[in-house]
Amino acid sequence: MADRVYDLIQLEELSGGDQDFINMMVDTFLEHTPGQLEELIKAQASNDMVTFGAISHKIKPNIDMFGIKKIIQDIRDLEQLGKAGQNNSELQTKLANVEAELIIAFEQLRQR
């Protein structure tokens, strides 16, 4: 298996050693984030940049909290580009990065 793309250090700190809490947080992450990713891709395809910006904004803290380091900056850039209404190649590349990394994270977290 590839290296872990996520890091639970923040959650562990927050949990104070409460494993149930971490499990619950992981479940919640897996419950909501895949749907949000789908919405994000849909918004880009239909060129709805307002929704795109808003959803990026929502996904941002999840990526932070689960320490998915590689795309921490990308999701911020996506939010800004979305708000500026720039559905360009830069946005599309970054979206592809975020999508690929998140899918790996989902898989790894499910098998944790």
Binding site: Q10, L14, M24, M25, E31, P61, N62, D64
Partner: protein, 450 residues
């Protein structure tokens, strides 16, 4: 510690759960989570202690929720938690009355923690302040002056008149009639009640110090004036200055006081700057100021200036119908304060209380009742529990009862009988009267033998 009800408005499930978990580490934090702004606004009637509000919500924007909260509950602190790192938005929100603005990043949980603790501390202080305010208001509510007799009702009417205006009030009355209570009732019911009531007891301050106490002084005004000090007149600015025992004021100071009352400005000692003061004056004295003017002890011009609305407090012996009412009131207060069982006052004691002359007035009544409550057995105050410790002339007190000579005779003989085991022979001998006289009086039931 106090329970803190926190409303968390956050549409990001993950972030909400993390925040809730973190805040719940303190069991006094009670967190309720809402996903939308609307659902939070609908539950405002539950009276949260604070709201943690996400700026971007699915239904309303953070600023809309903030405005709605502030319009219905202006004192409810709202902390904005936002992923928006935009200074302009933050400033707008703070201007609209947000308590704090916290950016969602790795430090946000510590900041939220700190903010909630600050709020808890604030809430505690605010509750304390509200409680104390309430207490003061209750204490000096009108109802603290008790009575339904004609003379006290006249006083109530005058107090009501004093409350409506800013007129100077002069209160006179024997010691213990409640002059200070009247001053407080006037101040705390007037429109200036939020400003201070400053009390100066003229008799309690050495006359050399009184001037600096009243008017204040500048640094270096005299030996020992090492710093500037504000006088009582300035301290009471906007409120009420209560000068108790005004009759004891020195003539030279009376002249200065008169000037201040006329010009409405004070000058601190050692300064030539005049400071405007807007203070209501209430004075009180147990002396008859008119007589003092005649004797040359009190300036006539000051007398008229201070007279304002005169309120004369009746002595307790002129309010006979209030005595039992007051006695029961003081007894109830004392029992409550000391968490004691209920107690009643026997008929004989009530009669005695009514016939006593009360030279110390209401203050004395209160002391007598409190002592009686301590001494009493079996939940009833009996004659043995009553102790009148009169300072004044015993004969004065006896005569002030205003009985006929025959009644005084009876009273005297009864007193002797009681103190000599109802031994008629002994009492007759002591009083140098015939035994037969006593027997006749007993037969006619003029005397009481227990």
């Amino acid at each position: 510690m106090s329970l803190m009800k926190i409303f968390l408005v956050e549409d990001n499930e993950l972030y909400a759960k993390a925040t809730k978990h973190h805040l719940s580490l303190n069991p006094d934090n009670q967190v309720e989570h809402f996903v939308t702004g609307k659902s939070c606004l609908e539950k405002l009637y539950l009276q949260p202690d604070c709201i943690l509000l996400d700026y971007s919500l699915p239904d309303l924007s953070g600023i809309d929720v903030l405005k709605k909260v502030k319009s219905s509950q202006p004192d409810l602190p709202v902390v904005i938690v936002s992923g928006q790192e935009d200074v302009a938005t933050a400033i707008d929100l703070l201007k609209e009355g947000a308590y704090d603005y916290i950016v969602k990043d790795e430090n946000s949980k510590e900041r939220i923690w700190k903010t909630i603790n600050n709020l808890r501390e604030n809430a505690k202080l605010r509750n304390e302040l509200d409680r104390l305010r309430e207490e003061v208001n209750l204490k000096y509510d009108f109802s603290s002056i008790k009575g339904s007799s004609v003379p006290i009702k006249r006083v109530f009417k005058l107090i009501e008149k004093a409350i409506r205006t800013n007129i100077t009030v002069s209160i006179s009355g024997e010691t213990g009639t409640g002059k200070e209570l009247v001053a407080k009732a006037i101040h705390y019911n007037s429109k200036n009640k939020k400003a201070p009531l400053v009390t100066v007891n003229i008799a309690a301050i050495p006359k050399e110090l009184l001037e600096s106490e009243l008017f204040g002084y500048e640094k270096g005004a005299f030996t020992g004036a090492i710093s500037r000090r504000i006088g009582k007149f300035e301290e009471a600015n906007g409120g009420t200055l209560f000068l108790d025992e005004i009759g004891e004021m020195d003539l030279s100071l009376q002249a200065k006081l008169l000037r201040i009352l006329q010009e409405r400005v004070v000058t601190r000692i050692g300064s030539n700057k005049e400071i405007k003061v807007d203070t209501r004056i209430i004075v009180a004295t147990h002396r008859n100021l008119k007589e003092e003017v005649a004797k040359g002890n009190f300036r006539e011009d000051l007398y008229y200036r201070l007279l304002g609305l005169p309120i004369e407090l009746p002595p307790l012996r002129q309010r006979e119908s209030d005595i039992i009412l007051l006695a029961k009131y003081f007894l109830k207060l004392f029992l409550e304060e000391n968490e004691m069982e209920e107690m009643r006052i026997s008929e004989q004691v009530q009669t005695k209380l009514r016939s006593y002359s009360w030279p110390g007035n209401v203050r004395e009544l209160k002391a007598v009742i409190e002592l009686a409550a301590v001494l009493a057995d079996d939940g009833i105050i009996e004659e043995k529990d009553l102790n009148f410790n009169t300072v004044g002339d015993e004969l004065d007190n006896l005569v002030s009862e205003g009985l006929t000579l025959k009644d005084y005779n009876t009273k005297l003989i009864n007193y002797y009988l009681k103190n000599h085991n109802n031994n008629v022979v002994e009492v007759a001998k002591l009083l140098d009267i015939g035994k037969s006289t006593l027997y006749r009086m007993l037969k006619n039931k003029e005397l009481t033998v227990n």
